[in-house]
């Protein structure tokens, strides 16, 4: 499997005509370079306006960069593809389908037979702990359950990369902690490279093998560091103990300082 790479990528939007005089283009991302290897878990964090979601949309192929290249190995990425599955903040599920049929949706597009689709969707729902909700309607599920359906749906495509845009952002704190552990399990089981956009410093630290801090206006990388908390969780340390460890707390302070560095405010 080859690496997903953004090389010297810039993204800017021209001012819309009709809103006063044509000003300079708004720069969203400024010369960002980032590689995502298979099996890696990269958490991206930053204030509003730092271009986190744009970064994910570029990697997904939903948008094209103004400058720079997005590549998979030697191949340029020209659009979305089943090798890069996306989990959305607003879950983006299809309410006219049951939980099972939502998960089976990528398989249906891939032309998998009906019986095999049902079977594989059932297994994926089991993996995210929703086997009993398989035939429920989407609007009958809670926010956390819906995100789990979204994750199972993304896994159905057997992607090399999972791109997650604040998937836990709308969940309550308790559900969120359980979902973080689920994300780690899913990541380990699938072997996919994960790009996670998040607002939570704790979440980035706990989940990421690498944490990227973006600064806003224009979006640029100000910190790129590796951490091993997620690997330590995998080897049996509890989430509670890890998040209370002195090195976790120190790392959190570093990240918060990096996030607010250009504000001139001690965080």
């Amino acid at each position: 499997m080859t690496e997903l790479r953004l090389t010297n990528v810039s993204l800017s939007y021209a001012r819309r005509p009709g809103f006063g005089a044509a000003g300079p283009a708004t720069s969203v991302l400024d010369h960002v370079s980032l590689g995502l290897a298979p099996g890696e878990f990269v958490a991206v964090i930053g204030r509003s306006g730092s271009g986190k979601t744009s970064l994910l949309n570029l990697a997904a192929g939903f948008i094209a960069p103004t400058e720079g290249r997005v590549t998979r190995g030697s191949q340029p990425i020209t659009g979305p593809g089943a090798d890069r599955a996306v989990v959305f903040q607003d879950d983006a599920l299809y309410p006219w389908l049951s939980a099972r049929d939502n998960v089976a949706f990528p398989l249906r597009l891939a032309g998998v037979s009906r019986t095999e689709r049902r079977e594989r969707a059932g297994a994926l729902l089991h993996q995210v702990g929703l086997e009993r909700e398989a035939d429920r309607a989407i609007w009958e599920l809670s926010g956390g359950q819906r995100q789990r359906v979204g994750i199972a749906r993304a896994l159905a495509a057997k992607p090399d990369f999972l791109l997650m845009d604040e998937p836990l952002g709308a969940l309550d704190a308790m559900t969120r902690e359980r979902m973080q552990e689920l994300l780690l399990e899913v990541w380990r089981a699938s072997g996919a490279g994960v790009l996670l956009i998040t607002h939570s410093v704790d979440e980035a630290l706990f989940l990421g093998t690498r944490v990227i801090v973006l600064a806003p206006h224009p979006g640029r990388i100000v910190l790129d560091r590796s951490f091993d908390f997620s690997r330590r969780f995998a080897t049996g340390e509890t989430a509670r103990a890890l998040k209370a460890a002195p090195e976790f707390i120190a790392a959190r302070e570093d990240l918060i300082a990096a996030i607010h560095a250009d504000e001139g405010v001690a965080a």
Binding site: A60, G61, F62, G79, P80, G81, A82, R84, A85, V86, F88, Q89, D90, A92, L93, Y94, P95, W96, F105, P106, R108, L109, A110, A137, I138, W139, R153, A157
Partner: protein
Amino acid sequence: MSEQTLAVAPAAGPPIRRLRLSPWLATLLTVAVLLALWLCASSFGWVSPVFLPHPAKVLAAIGKLVTRGYVDGTLFEHATASLGRVFTALAFSILIAVPVGLVIATSPIGRGVLDPLIEFIRPLPPLAYLPLIIIWFGIGEPSKVLVIALAMVAPIAIATAAGVRSASESQVNAARSFGASRLGVLLHVQLPSALPSILTGIRIALGAGWSTLVAAELVAASRGLGFMIQSAAQFLVTDIVIVGIFVISALAFVFEALLRLVERYFVRWSGRH
């Protein structure tokens, strides 16, 4: 002991209720009052029977219409002729308007071509284009269906286009990321999300269809409720006119109710996401 019972009794007994008007009761009362007014107006001679015949006479007219009929057709035959036209027109307009709406919503060029056409026919009164359609297509059955269908196409197309846009950007992007083509996104995401809106469009279109019925049956019809009403009006047979109006209204009501049932059953998810 008796004191205690007295103190407790009002709370334990049924709560004191004032007469509460439920919506159903309000509807029932409105109909009853209107019927009573009609009965009085006819019984006491407030209005001439030519303008408003006695309710009993209208009831008798229904009986006569069902058994013997009026101008070569029983009530059932007139009703099925009209229903046939309205639903043939509906079938054709759905076949045309849903694809038109999909194109308007998904293709800028398609929108540029079709949107003005839809906006052109949308406000036209059927009586305005009826002569032209008769000149072009003659006085046969196709013209009658076409007149009704023209009134139905615009609401369904506009509702379809609006419905397609109700699919969220991330719902569309999700399908794209799983490898769906533009056609795949349209069929698997945008069309299903448009279904509730399309059903609403069909309800509006049926209303427009019923209001076009009389115009469609104005020329060279020998069956149909609109035709029946016009024939009766020419000879001042007011009771038949009134029966015709009631039957059209009742049919429209029944199909509206059926469509709402379909909505409740097939697009239960609508508005709950």
